[in-house]
Amino acid sequence: MGQLLASSADGIVVAAILAVAAMGFTLQFGLTNVINLSFGAVMTIGGFTAYLANVAHLNAWLGMLLGGVAGAVATVALGRGVLRLYARRRTQLFEMMMVTLGMGLVIDYGLQAISQNAIYGYTVLRGAPLRMGPIAVTPIEVGIIVMALVILVAAEAALKFTKLGKALRATAVEPSLARSCGIQTGRVVLITWTVSGFLCGIAGVVYIISTQSVDYSTGELFLPLVIAAAILGGVGSIRGAVVASLVMGLVTEIVAGYGGAAYSTVAGFAILVVVLLVRPGSVSGGAEDRQLVL
């Protein structure tokens, strides 16, 4: 029982890290229908920005904020500067996915060259663990869980109760109808790229706080889990992404806790496979029938 509690607590920590990224990914995917495979590379940009802020002796929380801003700038530059050009040439979903993959690799290998392929330590906000019986979590891990919950509540509230949220939902469902109703869909897309990029940058920082290091491939290695959580939660569903992150976090850590660390990721992805088999429609959300919204 003690092991189960300890592993569950660890799973919630992993889920919180995953959820921050998955919320950003699914928000943008749900609106634009772009499977953005450069998301991991932008996470790395966020991580490196926080690292440089730390080197410059800036406050760690300010570093996190700067990481988020860097993620937003990079994502908007990618969305408006690159992807929209392709969309105007009527690039299809799969081709656009390959464009994002290419952009991600450009960023990754650019960072590899700049960073001299080195791993940089990032040990900030560490503290003595808080213990409750078999459970041991550090204060920053509690902070990450709280942050994930705050982002969830804020995003859900914004989508439900604000004009922008309603405009975003309308654009996601039927962009041409939304435009004819007077919604400035271009502005909605821009804001979505910005928010998604900001969350992506924050996710990169949160991730390196947990792993305590950053290198050029940091975000890329985390990306499959992010995509899995976003898909498992249902495309465009913030709440779904969080629940899916929780499921994946708990499964991977409980499997690891009972001696199957080598199979923990396998178990996480096995859930995705089962869901794809049982409820295939819930995954795509009909995205294959939709157009790119850029």
């Binding site: 660890d10 985390f222 660390a261």
Partner: protein, 429 residues
């Protein structure tokens, strides 16, 4: 008008010329290709990048000193991804497209079983870092290993643990092929040395957290951890281990004594704990010799081709091994007066192994000068004495070292070849 028969003869002649050019023999004074068959990407890329660091300095030194029999050397990277399934087509493509291929740096542990027979059949000498003990009695004539086998690494780690009176070992190895390659040797040596294994933990590389594995390890109450993984994974794992109060002494394989691993773990646990708790078992480094000076200069000369700093490359035990291997290959070509691998492969051992009347040389330039003077040579490498046995293996004793905060090597003790060979392990592939 050209008659069809003449055309056919001309085409056949042209085809023959092309096919002749595709052979392993380098018949022209064009550049000779040295390929790095290493994991450039994938989970074993941390090993591949370490291995790469030795190749540009060797090529720089050889080219700087006039090349090999008038040929310059050029590098070609072949990405194995540490996986035989990826390595095989990549190597087949290399063989099909590189008509002046003379040597390979590699293959690595993960891809060796598939790649060694292919390169051996193609008569391409390879300086491998494949740790599998099956190569302890290697029969492939083109396979060479300047590296301790995994079983020897494992035994050295076990012997060091015994020297330090550790009795409860936890094995923490990542699941990538490179790291897993060392694990059987460690487990077998613990059994042979009657040291208790209290936990055997596998880490999937690059996870955001390893807290469950850390908890599992703490509950096993080890008094030492034996480990290998990439730097990022190790930084996360040992950082969390320290956060949860479970840090105990660490004995790492050779792959841990590399700048990325040391940087990541030192950042995670702090310089003081690193100095106190970590020991890496590495091939005993050479005493300062002209060969080490030549290596240092070659690294400086090739710095624009290296993805890491000069200091990091100079202290990379993988890199220096490949450097020695490539210098030995180049000297063998000069000694054989041929760039045909069938001719010069036979000379690799003879230009390295010591013997009566041989002139000891410490660099490519010294070796070429001695050979031109009609002398037999023994290349004493930057890794130290090179003495290939009949199975084409050469490795010396092991040394336990740690790293200071500034990155300097601090010697903790040594494990002799004799003591390693005295331990008989069973069941190590």
């Amino acid at each position: 008008m050209v008659k069809p028969r003449v055309l056919a003869v001309g085409a056949a002649a042209a085809l023959g010329a092309v096919l002749a050019g595709c052979g392993a023999t380098a018949a022209t004074k064009g550049p000779l290709v040295v390929a790095g068959v290493i994991a450039i990407t994938g989970t074993s890329s941390f090993e591949g990048s370490n291995q790469y660091d030795g190749i540009p300095p060797a090529i720089y030194e050889i080219n700087h000193d006039g090349g090999v029999l008038g040929h310059k050397l050029v590098f070609k990277g072949v990405d194995t991804r540490g996986d035989p399934a990826d390595a095989l087509p990549a190597v087949q493509q290399l063989l099909a497209t590189s008509n002046n291929l003379v040597a390979v740096a590699g293959p690595d542990t993960g891809s060796a079983p598939t790649i060694v027979p292919v390169l051996n059949s193609a008569h391409i000498p390879m300086m491998a870092v494949a740790g599998e003990s099956v190569y302890d009695h290697n029969t492939a004539p083109y396979f060479w290993r300047l590296f301790a086998p995994d079983s020897a690494n494992g035994i050295a780690m076990g012997l060091w643990a015994k020297q330090k009176s550790f009795t409860r070992v936890a094995a923490v190895f990542a699941t990538d092929p490179g790291s897993q390659g060392d694990l059987p040797g460690v487990l077998a040596s613990l059994k042979a040395l009657h040291i208790q294994l209290v936990a055997n933990i596998s880490l999937t590389p690059d996870q955001s957290s390893y807290q469950s594995s850390v908890s599992q390890l703490i509950q096993a109450h080890p008094d030492v951890i034996m480990t290998e993984s990439d730097g990022g994974t190790a930084g996360t794992f040992f950082g969390e281990l320290k956060s949860l109060g479970g840090l105990v002494p660490i004995i790492g394989t050779l792959a841990t004594y590399t700048p990325p691993w040391l940087t990541a773990v030192q950042s995670a646990i702090g310089a003081a704990d690193m100095r106190q708790d970590y020991a890496g078992l590495i091939t005993a480094p050479s005493k300062p010799t002209a060969a080490v000076t030549a290596w240092d200069q070659a690294v400086k000369g090739a710095k624009s081709k290296l993805p890491v700093s000069v200091h990091a490359a100079q202290n990379n035990p993988f890199g220096v091994t490949y450097y020695d291997g490539m210098i030995a290959v180049a000297l063998a070509m000069v000694a054989a007066k041929s760039t045909n691998p069938v001719d010069f492969n036979k000379k690799i051992a003879s230009v390295c192994n010591p013997g009566p009347g041989k002139k000891v040389v410490y660099s490519f330039a010294q070796g070429v000068a001695a050979l031109k003077a009609g002398k037999q040579i023994s290349y004493f490498g930057a890794t130290g004495l090179i003495k290939f046995d009949k199975y084409h293996n050469s490795f010396g004793g092991m040394e336990a070292v740690t790293s200071s905060a500034s990155g300097s090597t601090i010697k903790l003790g040594s494990v002799s070849v004799a003591s390693i060979e005295a331990v008989h392990v069973k069941g190590v592939a």
